[in-house]
Symmetry: C2
Subunit: 183 residues, 2 copies
DNA sequence: TGTTAATTTCAGAAATTACTGAAATGACAG
DNA sequence: CTGTCATTTCAGTAATTTCTGAAATTAACA
């Protein structure tokens, strides 16, 4: 595996960004490499393309599998594992958002509920702050769960015509009483 | 500064989560502490509450200021700096999302555009993949920018009634031709 | 079953990131 | 200007994370 200049840059960029995205450089690079390669790659190809150790590749792929970001493919008559990323970019986004929510949001939501369960502490402000935060996260994740339920095509439509949403809320509000109750 | 059990747990949780959120433990703890305290705190109070060094507090506050997540207040006749978080949680969310976008998305968008500028590389699949990715990010950030523009009250309405959005798209689509063009 | 090729694990090394104490800098009051 | 109190900087240390090579494990096939 040899990479063109552009491919190289793309891969290195994802490596650099990895740390900001909460994954490590190698994992970012492996993902980027798989992303731009049409054909599934095996561990040996990844190792040589990125100049990393074979074991590092193995650990990186394991991590990507934990994130559900890569697909494992096998070829008949070949013992090796081959990896790709999904063709559908929206599917990738869905996975990414779902996993980040699972790791970055859900544990905090649980913790906040747990703290509330153990009853008020006497610090009115702090208690209120915590339950406000819990409510806000519930609103956000509730909205996310609705969006997640939409088929991709509708989601894209919604986003593409997002600039008309403000007006839409009001127009719909006028026609549908539900939408006026909070405005 | 002494913390109740609940406060302690809240602060420690944010410390733990910090690493997943791309900030370090101390910064997470400082933020959590300021978040649940009604009164602005000075560096000395933070230092003693969290049992960290004074210089660590200073660096943490600097980081939080860079994220625009804390407000600096001064008291007449007191030389010390006092810090708080905004009362309005939605404002905090806006800041957080804006800053994360700036750090985690924008650099990649620039890089992708730059790679496209340097022209096709001969690898059709890779080129297509990169421009598809750039388009997707543009759609997402475009949508985000529209949402950002909405007043908080409308945003909350939209999210709270999110479950009716799917239907709304279709109903609006029927009434407004714009919304049917892509479905 | 044994042989071979591939993957995974893991202890230690390397690299990176976070934290501290001491010294420097800055800001205000007299 | 000087003294005092507060904040920042920074070099060194500590802690954590990442990476490697060697050994162990797993899987395919004859």
């Amino acid at each position: 595996m040899t990479l063109s200049n552009t491919q190289q840059e793309f891969v290195l960029h994802f490596g650099e960004m990895g740390s900001r995205w909460g994954i490590n450089r190698t994992v970012g690079q492996i993902y980027a490499l798989l992303f731009i390669c049409k054909k599934p790659l095996n561990a040996e190809e990844i190792t040589s393309a990125l100049h990393i150790s074979r074991s590092n590749t193995s650990m990186g792929l394991k991590e990507l599998q934990a994130w559900q970001l890569v697909r494992l493919k096998r070829r008949p008559g070949d013992r090796r594992d081959y990896f790709t990323t999904p063709d559908d970019l929206w599917e990738i986004v869905r996975t990414l958002v779902a996993e980040r929510k699972k790791r970055e949001i859900d544990p905090t939501l649980s913790k906040l509920r747990e703290l509330e369960m153990h009853g008020p502490t006497g610090d009115d402000y702090g208690d209120a702050r915590i339950s406000e935060l819990r409510e806000l996260i519930e609103t956000l994740t509730g909205f996310y769960e609705e969006m997640e339920r939409l088929e991709t095509q509708r989601l894209v439509t919604l986003m593409t015509y997002g600039s008309r949403l403000a007006g839409l809320i009001d127009k719909a509000g006028a026609a549908m009483p539900l939408f006026t109750s909070q405005t």
